[in-house]
């Protein structure tokens, strides 16, 4: 359980790093300032949601691997 919490912590730190260094830098140009901002915000939000889904999938796999044996024992 301690390992599971530790892995979750590392995933939060890594996910935050990717969001800040890569996703937040996304910008769109050519449609006017307001539309550019709106499109960029939507793209960022979609990527952030995909990250959360990926995070849940990874944890789910991890959970099954670590805990299934424990439950069946």
């Amino acid at each position: 359980m301690y390992a599971f919490i530790g892995i979750m912590w590392l995933l939060i730190l890594a996910g935050g790093g990717i969001l800040v260094t890569a996703v937040s830098k996304i910008s769109i140009s050519g449609y006017g300032d307001e539309i550019d901002f709106l499109i960029a915000s939507i793209i960022k939000a979609v990527i952030a949601i995909l990250f959360v889904i990926a995070w849940i999938v990874v944890l789910s796999k991890l959970k099954n691997r670590i805990f299934q044996k424990q439950i069946e024992s």
């Binding site: 919490i5 979750m8 424990q70 439950i71």
Partner: protein, 339 residues
């Protein structure tokens, strides 16, 4: 600074002793009105008064009101008002759920609605209630003004229901919240956010005082009104203190519990509607059930390989909470590090 220290001492004492003094009276009143539920893990199935939420909310409102009066024309007062309104609304949601059995979706939706005053006060004063950026350790922050409102609306139901879902055995919810909230206060102090650290103190002391009556063998249960009040206040502190990530880390064991539950049940349901994930041995210890369709929870995992007493399970959860609290404090230190 001296004034802040005196205020910290006063609100801590007020928060602790209001719960300490009111709860015995509440236990008697609930007993007289036969508002009690069976403690399913207790030998003989004793009836335990519920809910303790009124004592918890009274202590929070009184101690935060004291803080409000100490600094009458201070910028932090808007944060205190936002916290008091949202926390009170979460209490009302829990109290309704304590009195009537409502659907699984009622609580998340009603808690989301209780976050609206916090959003509106933040829109009214865009500088002093919350900062619509999400800050991560080491890497910095992301500006998400529109998305941040969604985070607030989600945060209160998540923290509220997370604490509610870990309230499964004597003393766990209040003990866990004591550890998590003091970890959060330490993190706020490390990040030099002294105003919100001060505002957060009542949460830790209210939880600690309530733990005295909630610990094994419980004399009172917090009920949904108590658990949702504690969880919602924790969520509000995370937002007004700009420590969303740190707060989530301190809460990890409870988040894991909710995650395990939701990923095994695969829908939002009332806990009363599901099979018990644990059962009892002949010597009345608690052990994981063999039923395949019972949900996987934190407690079920802790007793999967070995049976434990209720008290031992509580202390195992508290050790996990301390571990997460340490990670949260490390994260607070990392907030000052930039690459």
């Amino acid at each position: 600074m001296q004034q802040e220290l005196i205020a910290a001492l006063v609100v801590s004492v007020v928060a602790f002793f209001v719960v300490y003094a009111i709860t015995p009276f509440l236990i008697r009143e609930l007993g007289k009105r036969k508002l009690a539920v069976p403690d399913v893990n207790r030998v003989g199935g004793a009836m335990v008064p519920r809910p303790g939420g009124p004592a918890i909310i009274a202590a929070i409102l009184i101690s935060e009101a004291v803080l409000f009066l100490v600094f009458p024309s201070d910028m932090r007062n808007l944060k205190i008002i936002a916290l008091m309104i949202t926390t009170f609304l979460a209490f009302v949601v829990g109290f309704i759920d304590d009195r009537r059995v409502l659907g699984g979706w009622f609580k998340p939706l009603a808690l989301a609605a209780s976050a609206i005053p916090l959003v509106l006060i933040g829109i009214y004063d865009t500088t002093s209630v919350y900062d619509p950026n999400l800050t991560f350790p080491i890497f910095g922050s992301v500006k998400i003004p529109a998305l941040y409102i969604g985070i607030i609306i989600l945060m209160i139901p998540i923290t509220g229901n997370t604490i509610n879902s870990i309230d499964v055995m004597n003393g766990i919810a209040s003990g866990f919240m004591t550890i998590a909230s003091f970890s959060l206060t330490i993190a706020l102090l490390i990040m030099q956010n002294y105003d919100v650290a001060l505002i957060s103190l009542p949460l830790g002391f209210v939880s600690l005082a309530f733990y005295k009556y909630h610990k094994f063998p419980s004399r009172i249960f917090p009920g949904d009104s108590g658990a949702l009040t504690l969880g919602a206040m924790y969520g509000v502190i995370a937002i007004i203190g700009h420590v969303e990530v740190v707060a989530a880390i301190a809460l990890l064991p409870a988040v894991i519990n909710s995650f395990l539950f939701l990923s095994s049940v695969k829908k939002i349901v009332e806990h009363r509607q599901i099979k018990n994930p644990t059962t009892h041995t002949e010597d009345h210890k608690i052990i994981a059930t063999k039923e395949k369709d019972a949900p996987i929870t934190l407690v079920r995992l802790l007793v999967a390989g070995r049976s434990l007493t209720e008290k031992e399970i509580g202390f195992t959860v508290f050790r996990l909470a301390i571990f997460s609290g340490i990670l949260a404090i490390i994260t607070a230190f990392l907030m000052g590090v930039r690459v």
